[in-house]
């Protein structure tokens, strides 16, 4: 019964989304206030019904209703309840429902928190989001109904959730990632609404900025969690694979980063108007493209769900409609005349331009590398694969190029700055940064030029930021009043740039100083690694709720002192028989010790073992968290909360009608 309610709620939500896509936009066209005023109510209704539908599917999972097909193939009665819940989105149908739920949440959030928006704009924005919802809900109802039953032939027990997905990180990774992905639909909707209205001024940039920043923050968190999950769950200590699915989430992030900066220039200076609109379309298009790549099976990936060409075709048609439609609209409506606002070469604008070019080129190189196998296959050139070395080779120089300009950005002034002022402000940070770059890596056993470069660039970013912060607070009577004067927008930028510096340092240090030993070990054996003694104590069988495992007990000493005890496992999940490596990690700010089991070798209890020493690997995730916090902080800025009164919004409509 409950699945039928869920299915029914989904159908109602689908109808609501059609109404939301049609009526308010018709109202906006005919200037019909009544029709436009329906939009917020419809948006909330959409959220309620998608929410009911989601709750029904979650109930089916929690109650082990194996007559529902997705439950039977992705859950099992032995599964711990929390994983039964996360299994809801551990499959194609359920993850689409999650996608739709998050889209409806964003839509309702726009409806509820946009009191200051003119009704005309609000109705257009909500209509565009409603149209996106129509696409996703019809996709679900036509090709991937999550409530399909297995009647007759209900199995006694389910197939179990893929063991790789039975992990705390994977409970929140997809929701966060989708919050980011789907959140770009808000920026997209604002851009389309602005194109439809023909008013591409600073106000649309101001309205969409907080939404974009929050979505970008969620996406950063989501990507970070995915990387963290791969690190400790896939069992070989890698944290980024340039896998098509990872790229699918990374490309919107890159485009979104360009969009954030470009929006700032559009809001503050009225510059790059059409360019910013285009970036907003890009960011969301790349989110949709990512969905297509993951769901259609055109690319192989460890992440891919079971795929189906019919679904792929549906998403491709949807993609063509949304992206093709919005780009056509862009071509017809974007202002073709260049803006009259000018700026000097030495100014913040040109640095933002620099950021945009670097991030856009980075997006395109990742896109190209991801699609290259597909293009070659389509041209009959054979089955190629593009490995991580390609991405590293193009990405590292791009980021290295970015960092020097990035240090200048926060310090420089809009419109016109002078190189003399830059020299005055930044000479000291530059010198100190270079010194740091030369000296800090000396503390490690081996000197490494890459690390020196990374440290110098990061120090340059951090010192420049601190110097700028100092200039901003020093005029105040006390430090506290000085700090209080600084806007949340500035703090957001500060945190995000700081996070980027931490991330770069972590990535370079861990890639360069990482030590990995793969070797055969018997109980009692000891191995030296980076000054640590790893002793394999014993091998014990253990039993979990839905798996059995061999557990290796390790003791790790440094200078005779025990610093950690690790117990990696080799699990065999009972329902599927799938074998899984469960690594164990002793984490720290400056180094991780990582042990994973390979396979048994010969008789006598010897195993292949993977021992890692990973310095500063956590910096990159901490950096990503800082970046996300930065994205969230900017929303607190007062200027996004001004003009809250509904009277002004109504007034705007009257003006529009007159």
């Amino acid at each position: 019964m409950i699945p039928e309610i869920g299915h029914f709620a989904l159908i109602i939500a689908f109808c609501l989304s059609i109404i939301l896509a049609v009526i308010p936009s018709w109202g906006a066209w005919r200037r019909n206030t009544g029709a436009m005023a329906l939009a917020p109510g419809l948006a909330v209704g959409l959220m309620v019904f998608v929410g009911v539908s989601f709750a029904c599917l979650a109930t089916a999972f929690l109650q082990d209703d194996f007559s529902v097909k997705v439950v039977a193939s992705n859950s099992n009665s032995m599964l711990p309840p929390i994983y039964k819940f996360s299994a809801v989105w551990g499959n194609h149908e359920g993850s689409l429902l999650l996608w739709a739920l998050i889209l409806s949440l964003w839509t309702a959030a726009v409806a509820l928190f946009s009191g200051q928006l003119p009704l005309l704009v609000l109705s257009r924005v909500l209509s565009v989001m409603g149209a996106v919802a129509v696409g996703f809900l019809s996709f679900m109802l036509l090709t991937s109904n999550p409530f399909a039953r297995l009647l007759p032939g209900t199995p006694a027990d389910g197939n179990d959730l893929n063991p790789l997905l039975q992990d705390p990180g994977l409970i929140i990774h997809p929701p966060l990632l989708y919050m980011g992905y789907v959140g770009f639909s808000v920026a997209f909707a604002f851009a389309i609404a602005a194109l439809l209205g023909g008013r591409l001024d600073a106000s649309w940039a101001r309205w969409s900025r907080p939404w974009t920043n929050v979505a970008w923050g969620f996406l950063s968190l989501g990507i970070m969690l995915g990387s963290w999950w791969a690190y400790y769950e896939l069992g070989w200590g890698g944290w980024w694979f340039w896998d098509p699915v990872e790229n699918a989430s990374f490309m919107p992030w890159l485009a979104g980063t360009a969009l954030l900066h470009s929006l700032a220039a559009t809001e503050k200076r009225g510059l790059f108007k059409s360019w910013t609109v285009l970036l907003a379309i890009f960011a969301f298009s790349l989110s949709l493209l990512g969905t297509f790549l993951v769901r259609s099976g055109v690319l192989t990936s460890v992440h891919a769900f079971a795929t189906d060409p019919a679904r792929g075709l549906f998403i491709l048609v949807f993609l063509a409609l949304v992206v093709g439609g919005s780009l056509t609209l862009y071509a017809l409506r974007a202002p073709a005349v260049t803006s009259r606002v000018s700026f000097e070469w030495v100014s913040r604008e040109s640095l933002i331009l620099c950021n945009n070019v670097v991030f856009l080129v980075a997006t395109i190189t990742v896109l190209f590398g991801t699609l290259f196998p597909l293009i070659m296959d389509a041209l009959g050139g054979g089955k190629y694969s593009v490995g991580p070395p390609y991405f590293n080779a193009v990405f590292v120089p791009l980021m290295a190029l970015l960092a020097p300009f990035m240090g200048l950005g926060p310090v420089s002034r809009w419109k016109k700055d002078s190189t003399r002022r830059w020299r005055q402000e930044l000479a000291l940070p530059a010198v100190v940064a270079v010194l740091c770059g030369f000296t800090l890596p000396l503390f490690n056993a081996s000197y490494n030029l890459w690390v020196a470069l990374a440290v110098a660039l990061s120090a340059w970013l951090v010192l420049g930021l601190l110097r700028d912060l100092w200039y901003r607070v020093r005029g105040a009577a006390t430090l506290a009043t000085g700090l209080r004067r600084i806007t949340p927008s500035y703090w957001g930028m500060f945190l995000a740039h700081l996070g980027f510096a931490a991330c770069v340092t972590g990535i370079v240090a861990t890639s360069q100083y990482n030590i990995e030993h793969d070797l055969k070990m018997s109980p009692g054996d000891t191995e030296q690694l980076a000054g640590y003694e790893f002793t394999f104590i014993e091998l014990v069988p253990v039993r979990g709720p839905n798996f059995v495992a061999d557990e290796a007990r390790f003791e790790i000493r440094r200078d005779g002192e025990v610093v950690a005890r690790l117990a990696p496992q080799k699990r065999r999940y009972l329902a599927t028989g799938q074998v899984m490596t469960e690594a164990d990690i002793d984490g720290g700010l400056f180094r991780d010790l990582y042990v994973a089991m390979g396979e048994p070798i010969g008789e006598g209890g010897a195993w292949a073992m993977r021992l890692h020493y990973k310095p500063m690997v956590r910096w990159m995730w901490l950096g990503a968290i800082l970046m996300a916090l930065g994205g969230f902080t900017t929303v607190l800025d007062k200027r996004y909360r001004r003009q809250r009164s509904p009277a002004i919004a109504k007034g705007a409509v009257h003006v529009a009608q007159a």
């Binding site: 199995p155 075709l313 992206v323 093709g324 056509t328 071509a331 296959d377 389509a378």
Partner: protein, 180 residues
Amino acid sequence: MSPRLKLFIPLILFTGMALFLFRGLSLDPRELPSALIDRPLPDFNLPVLGQERLLQRADLVGEPALLNVWATWCVSCRVEHPYLLQIAASGVPIYGINYKDEDAAAARWLAELGDPYRANIADREGSLGLDLGVYGAPETYLVDAEGVIRYRHVGVVDERVWQTILQPMYQQLSASGDRG
């Protein structure tokens, strides 16, 4: 170039990419080239499940048929089983290869879930499976009237697979068989 035309560049680039994506839909990146298509079914001499008699290659030849590799240890076989019953009910001959399985368990399975098979070859050691190049179960082969393998489907046969792939090929094979 006029400024307005420049704004069409993103649209044109996207259209090009969409064409590639469309082409990509019809390609399977995971496809392993199969060496067995259009080769004759290998010879074998194996017992029929639950019976004393032996079955040879010659017994299967004569009309187009499906050859379904299954086992009781195979969870997905349970998923496709009801569908095989439907296909068999529509008159399509299906031979089973009970792959690396126990006879008793297999007999119990057929008694419980129904038996869509003309006959079942008990391939206890997986020797026929090895000759056929079976990766695992389920797998389904389409064999024509001359005993030549025409198609191999890896994975579950469901409505979509049957209606879009197997059935059209089967009908074509039966039609040409009737003429000849």
